[in-house]
């Protein structure tokens, strides 16, 4: 009797454990909710960076939308660094911090261990149509929107077949028509932006 009771009790606990794993994973798999005041920005739209970021003209720009408090953003740091190492000479990389707290540019640079421009201008997100972190925005040499979306289908950027941001960079330099990305690339996954949390 006692044995049966124990087994039932343990089964209950294990179901609870399975539920927590499943629930957390399910939550992760959901796309970031689209803010009510969101205005989509179509590819090819011009993004004016002039007064907002000290980046070179006539050179493609890669904007990394980053929130130090967002776990997904934090997890994405090493992958972003590999992109900078790989394409740093051809593209101007910059980090756009979307956070309400008082982070300094030096702190952000220290986190990435990179000397690239850092902006705290949240209007850049609206200008590029970004509403989550981490998000990649690639502007061509004329600063027109070439790609805005996720880095990878996989949260861990381990799926080389879905390195969307990198694929966009590669396609930009190979002078081929802009590829059509699947839903996983363009539907934003990750943390909501501060100030527009609608959980």
């Amino acid at each position: 009797m006692k044995k049966a009771l124990t087994i039932t009790w343990l089964l209950l606990i294990f179901s609870g454990i399975a539920c927590i794993f499943w629930y957390t994973d399910w939550k992760y798999s959901l796309p970031t909710p689209v803010p009510s005041a969101y205005h989509p920005v179509a590819p090819g739209a011009y993004v004016d960076l002039a007064s907002k970021l000290p980046v070179a003209r006539n050179k493609p720009v890669f904007l990394h939308f980053f929130n130090p408090d967002c776990p997904c953003s934090r997890f994405n740091i090493p992958y972003f660094k590999t992109l900078v190492r790989k394409y740093g000479d051809k593209i101007s990389f910059a980090v756009v911090v979307l956070n309400n707290d008082d982070y300094t540019a030096a702190q952000i640079k220290h986190k990435f261990d990179l000397d690239i421009p850092v902006s705290f201008d949240s209007t850049l997100a609206a200008a590029c149509g970004v509403y989550s972190t981490p998000q990649a925005v690639l502007l061509d040499a004329n600063h027109r929107l070439y790609y805005r979306g996720n880095y990878n289908k996989s949260r861990y950027c381990t799926d080389t077949r879905s390195n969307y941001a990198q694929m966009a960079v590669d396609s930009l330099f190979s002078n081929v028509p802009r590829p059509l990305f699947a839903g996983y690339a363009l539907k934003a996954y990750g943390c909501q932006l501060p100030g527009c949390t609608k959980k």
Binding site: K2, K3, L5, T6, W9, L10, I13, F14, G16, I17, I20, F21, Y23, T24, D25, S29, P71, C72, R74, F75, K153, S154, R155, Y156, T158, D159, T160
Partner: protein, 450 residues
């Protein structure tokens, strides 16, 4: 202490000690694992997983321990809980490969229980977890994030699996070896305890033996002095009787004096027997060369007045072959021969026409075979077994004290010899004595004296 403590109780006490100690350790380790989960939550805000799964795992363990305290199910549960913590940490760190090592930490911790089987739930959980999730990721299932490694091919996975199995196997092996070693140690402790106890018993035995020897010796000395002192007045009495006999007496007096003389002689003989016994027990061996001819002549010389007047003349037949020097204790040998020959003479068959006593002695380098044979009344079969017992007499009419053959047996044994008796009622008795030649001991004795 050890007499009440069996090996099993020692073993059980040890197992309990291991259990209590390991259970206490588990409290610390599980707390550490839970705290680790909380710390890992800081990285990617996985608080729900850290608190939810961590707490449920701890509840699963402690409730099993509480509900089934007498079974070791909770130990298997802790093994499973380690597996769960591994899965939790992997999840919290989004497949950080190093988190897989948590399984090995759990495996190493489990050694403390000294039960290799405890590795099974952990190993099973790790294998099932890794195999299913690894496979799902390998085939490209979208929702699975098992490892950050992008090179986790089937081959890599199999190698990892084999290595992990080896770690579990070795941890299980150490647990088993530890158990064996400890069991051996328990056995040794037990044996040592037994040995100490036996030593104590032996010491006590030796002590009581010494005391016994001492009191025996005192008793022997007492018997000797008493017997010795008793003989003096008896000798005086015999002397007085002798004086009386030299005078003319009326038949009544003559008869009573004769009765008195016989009683005094009987008493003297009895005391002599006691003295012989006492000497045999008390005195050290004094080895010297034995000349059987002389010794037997002396004995017969002493015994010639033994025969009652109405008895027939006993034919004495001697056959001594002693070309080789024979060494033994002369006084003890004399006691043996005296008793055997006097018995043969005393218990003659009145119906025999030619009563005889035959003594054969054959000496060799190893020993002497002495045979005393007669055609006397013999001893009934049923009495033969008891004939060498102390104070045993075949019938109340027996003339002796019941000590003679007992003394013979004791003395033969003292000389490391063997005695055998063969007898038939009405036909006669044959006693054979085998005594070792103590020539070698004699030379050793001489050397030690010089």
């Amino acid at each position: 202490m050890f007499s009440q403590q069996t090996y099993q109780s020692l073993h059980d006490a040890y197992l309990l000690q291991v259990k209590v100690k390991s259970d206490r350790l588990m409290n610390y380790f599980l707390a550490a694992f839970f705290i680790c989960g909380l710390l890992l939550a800081l990285f990617y805000d996985t608080w729900l997983v850290a608190i939810g799964i961590g707490s449920l795992s701890l509840i699963a363990y402690y409730s099993t321990r509480l509900l089934l305290p007498d079974s070791d199910a909770y130990q298997y549960m802790v093994s499973g809980v380690f597996g769960l913590f591994m899965a939790q940490f992997i999840y919290q760190m989004h497949g950080l490969f190093e988190m897989h090592f948590i399984a090995f930490i759990g495996s190493a911790i489990l050694i403390t229980y000294q039960n290799w089987k405890l590795q099974i739930p952990l190993a099973a959980l790790v294998i099932v977890h890794h195999a299913s999730f690894g496979y799902l990721q390998y085939i490209g299932y979208d929702k699975i994030y098992f490892t950050q490694l992008d090179y986790m091919t089937l081959q890599t996975f199999i190698i990892h699996g084999i290595l992990a199995t080896v770690v579990f196997f070795i941890c299980g092996l150490w647990a088993y070896q530890m158990k064996l070693l400890n069991e051996r140690q328990i056995q040794q402790t037990y044996d040592m305890g037994r040995y100490q106890e036996e030593q104590l018993q032996r010491k006590a035995l030796l002590q009581s033996n010494e005391e016994l020897k001492k009191s025996n010796k005192e008793l022997d000395s007492f018997v000797y002095s008493v017997s010795h002192d008793l003989r003096a007045p008896l000798s005086s009495m015999l002397g007085v009787i002798g004086l009386c006999e030299m005078r003319e007496m009326d038949p009544f007096m003559e008869k009573n004096v004769s009765l008195m003389k016989s009683s005094v002689k009987k008493l003297d003989g009895f005391i002599m027997d006691i003295l012989d016994y006492s000497r045999n027990a008390r005195l050290e061996m004094r080895l010297q060369e034995i000349h059987f001819d002389e010794m037997l002549t002396d004995i017969f010389g002493n015994l010639k007045f033994m025969c009652a007047e109405d008895q027939k003349k006993v034919d004495i037949r001697l056959a001594v072959r002693n070309g080789i020097p024979f060494y033994s204790d002369k006084s003890r040998l004399s006691i043996i021969l005296n008793n055997l020959i006097s018995n043969s003479i005393r218990y003659q068959n009145p119906e025999a026409t030619d009563p005889f006593v035959e003594i054969q002695v054959e000496v060799s380098e190893t020993g002497a075979d002495i045979l005393v044979r007669d055609n006397g009344i013999g001893i009934a079969k049923e009495n033969q077994g008891k004939i060498f017992n102390m104070f045993y007499r075949v019938s109340n009419r027996s003339a002796g004290s019941g000590l003679g053959l007992y003394i013979v047996k004791e003395t033969v044994e003292k000389l490391d010899g063997v005695i055998r008796l063969h007898s038939e009622t009405g036909k006669g008795t044959e006693v054979s004595v085998r005594l070792p030649n103590l020539a070698h001991s004699h030379s050793v004795q001489l050397q030690s004296q010089s």
